[in-house]
């Protein structure tokens, strides 16, 4: 209660200050939660923003896109990091609680399908073959079950766990239905575990966020999907299909009336280009950032 009161007080003083002088110092608390994929970008923005505005308290959680929306739709948080679009039922819940939101694109992310560095028989794979391997009740046990010329060695599969947005996206795009996947693969919420799994096993295959591949290029080989390499350029222009996707932040429109939050979101979109690249993701085109900026004006 005390906290709410003091937050209100701070917000009120901040408002009255900004009314008379625009250069006044910003203060207040910004609460962010959501996807762990978007987290590094938001953390980087928060870090930079705090250098200029040390009196604004920023908290960032990593409850996952869905977990974050649960808090966002009841008004517990101001911003939700999301690695997928908001779902209809989440929108309905928000509506029921009188919460309106604004969707802003902040970056692109690709999902890399990787094999071991010593794997010399595969460079390229099709979406059909991926579905054959990863689908529910898949019959694929050996590499040779996919293409007869590949070795008759057991294929070891690594992928993220069910709470991850990457998992939702991959299963929806490859297997045609969210969360539809074979059950006998090694799952971990920690992508570095997946990296180590694939890097340590010649006959392994795995999928995870592109940034984890970029950081571990020396030990892994990323496959072309339908002949397209997962390069920054191909992820940005969408030709790395179907495994490239936009990343979002959702902003509570009521919170956006607070000066510190508006400043933060503006800062986010203005600095995103550099910061997104620094943390290993693919920035949007300049025009697209401008488009997002226009939304909050």
């Amino acid at each position: 209660m005390k906290r709410i009161l003091s937050a209100l007080l701070i917000a009120a003083t901040a408002l009255s200050f900004s009314a008379c002088a625009k250069q006044e110092k910003l203060a207040g608390t910004i609460k962010i939660d959501g996807s762990s994929t978007v987290y590094p970008i938001t953390q980087a923005v928060a870090e930079e923003f705090n250098k200029q505005n040390p009196d604004v308290n920023i908290t960032v959680g990593i409850s996952g896109t869905g977990g974050g929306f649960k808090k966002f739709v009841v008004g517990e948080t101001d911003i939700n990091d999301a690695s997928r679009k908001v779902k209809d039922e989440e929108l309905e819940k928000a509506k029921a609680n009188g919460i309106e939101m604004m969707e802003l694109e902040v970056a692109y992310d690709g999902i890399a399908v990787v094999v071991n560095k010593d794997n010399n028989w595969v460079d390229d794979i099709t979406t059909e073959e991926l579905k054959m391997i990863w689908d529910k009740d898949s019959k694929v046990v050996y590499w040779s079950d996919v293409r007869p010329e590949w070795p008759k060695e057991k294929i070891k599969l690594y992928g993220p766990g069910t709470d991850s947005g990457t998992f939702d996206y991959f299963t929806a795009e490859i297997n045609g239905e969210e969360k539809r996947i074979r059950t006998d693969y090694t799952a971990s919420e920690d992508d570095n575990v997946l990296v180590q799994g694939v890097a340590g096993d010649k006959y392994a295959m795995g999928f995870f966020g592109h940034s984890y591949y970029e950081e571990n290029k020396d030990n892994l080989k990323a496959l072309k999907i339908n002949g397209v390499e997962p390069t920054t350029e191909n992820i940005r222009n969408g030709s790395y299909k179907p495994l490239s996707r936009p990343l979002f932040i959702y902003v509570n429109t009521k919170s956006l009336e607070r000066p510190e939050l508006k400043a933060f979101v503006k800062f986010y979109l203005e600095k995103a280009k550099d910061l997104v690249e620094q943390v290993g993701y693919v920035p949007l085109e300049d025009a697209k950032y401008q488009e997002q900026l226009n939304k909050i004006k």
């Binding site: 209660m1 906290r3 953390q43 870090e47 308290n57 908290t59 570095n192």
Partner: protein, 288 residues
């Protein structure tokens, strides 16, 4: 001739088992030293004053542990303040005052069962009761109350054991001097049992320091740009910060995580050695 054979075989058997249990001991020590070695070799050169006083950063070299460290200290102190009196009070009631009724038995059985409940369940309880129902929000206080629930069974059970170990003759001697029950408890029973109680409490508190799962549910955060100033502030703790670093794409963050683990280990060792010092002090006093 045959008898000698049997003796020989028995002696060999003896030696084999001696070697086996020695190996068991070595196994634990070996694993521990491998762990320590890999952590120290990764993290030691990342440890610096800056690491302690900096805020987290996207650059591994600039990343620091300050908010998590203070969050952990806040949490541990509050947890100790809550769980210590409640735990010892419960144990005193159950051992000294409660009559041997079905209800007492039921309470004792439940406390023993609660000690085995997974930590994440306490997190959900904390979320429902402290965060939502009592409206304390995702604050340090909610976290500390949840952690107190988590470690209370451990504290109660070990305090009960300690109280039970007080010799009946000492208590009778005290009563013989005409003291009341409360005077006997504060003058004889508690001081005698204190070393045992302290050991249990410190073990519980060390556990609370290392737990992450229930706090994630209660709402400890991954990134906090400020230092908590009151029990109503939002917070993060060392284990969550360490987990967060270990799952970052940049490889250097593995080393940062290792440095964080060293800090956590250091605090744990510190708390444990305080416990041992206190215990020794009281044990010596009782002998006099």
């Amino acid at each position: 001739m045959k008898e000698q054979d049997i003796t020989k075989r028995r002696k060999i058997k003896n030696k084999i088992f001696h070697a086996l249990i020695f190996l068991c001991t070595l196994f634990g020590i070996f694993i521990l030293s491998v762990l320590l070695f890999s952590i120290l070799s990764k993290g030691l050169k990342w440890l610096s004053i800056d690491f302690i006083t900096n805020f987290p950063s996207r650059f591994p070299k600039k990343a620091g542990i300050y908010p998590a460290l203070l969050g952990s200290l806040w949490l541990i102190i509050l947890t100790a303040l809550i769980s210590f009196p409640v735990g010892i009070g419960t144990a005193l009631y159950l051992e000294e005052y409660a009559k041997d009724t079905k209800l007492t038995e039921f309470i004792k059985l439940n406390i023993a069962n609660l000690a085995g409940v997974p930590a994440i369940i306490y997190g959900m309880l904390g979320l429902a009761v402290f965060v939502r129902m009592l409206g304390l929000g995702r604050s340090i206080l909610s976290g500390a109350l949840t952690m107190s629930l988590l470690i209370l069974p451990t504290i109660i059970i070990s305090s009960q054991e300690a109280l039970r170990s007080v010799p009946e003759s000492l208590k009778q001697a005290s009563y013989a001097l005409g003291t009341t029950k409360w005077q006997t408890i504060t003058g004889v029973t508690l001081p005698y049992a204190l070393p045992g109680i302290l050991t249990g409490t410190i073990l519980g508190i060390s556990r609370a320091l290392g737990e992450a799962a229930p706090l994630i549910v209660v709402g400890a955060l991954a990134y906090v740009s400020f230092v908590p100033k009151t029990p109503f502030d939002q917070f993060t703790v060392l284990p969550i910060q360490i987990f967060n670093w270990s799952s970052m794409p940049k490889k250097e963050f593995q080393n940062v995580a290792a440095a964080g683990i060293i800090v956590l280990l250091f605090i744990l060792l510190g708390i444990n050695s305080i416990a041992i010092l206190l215990r020794n002090k009281y044990q010596i006093r009782m002998k006099d």
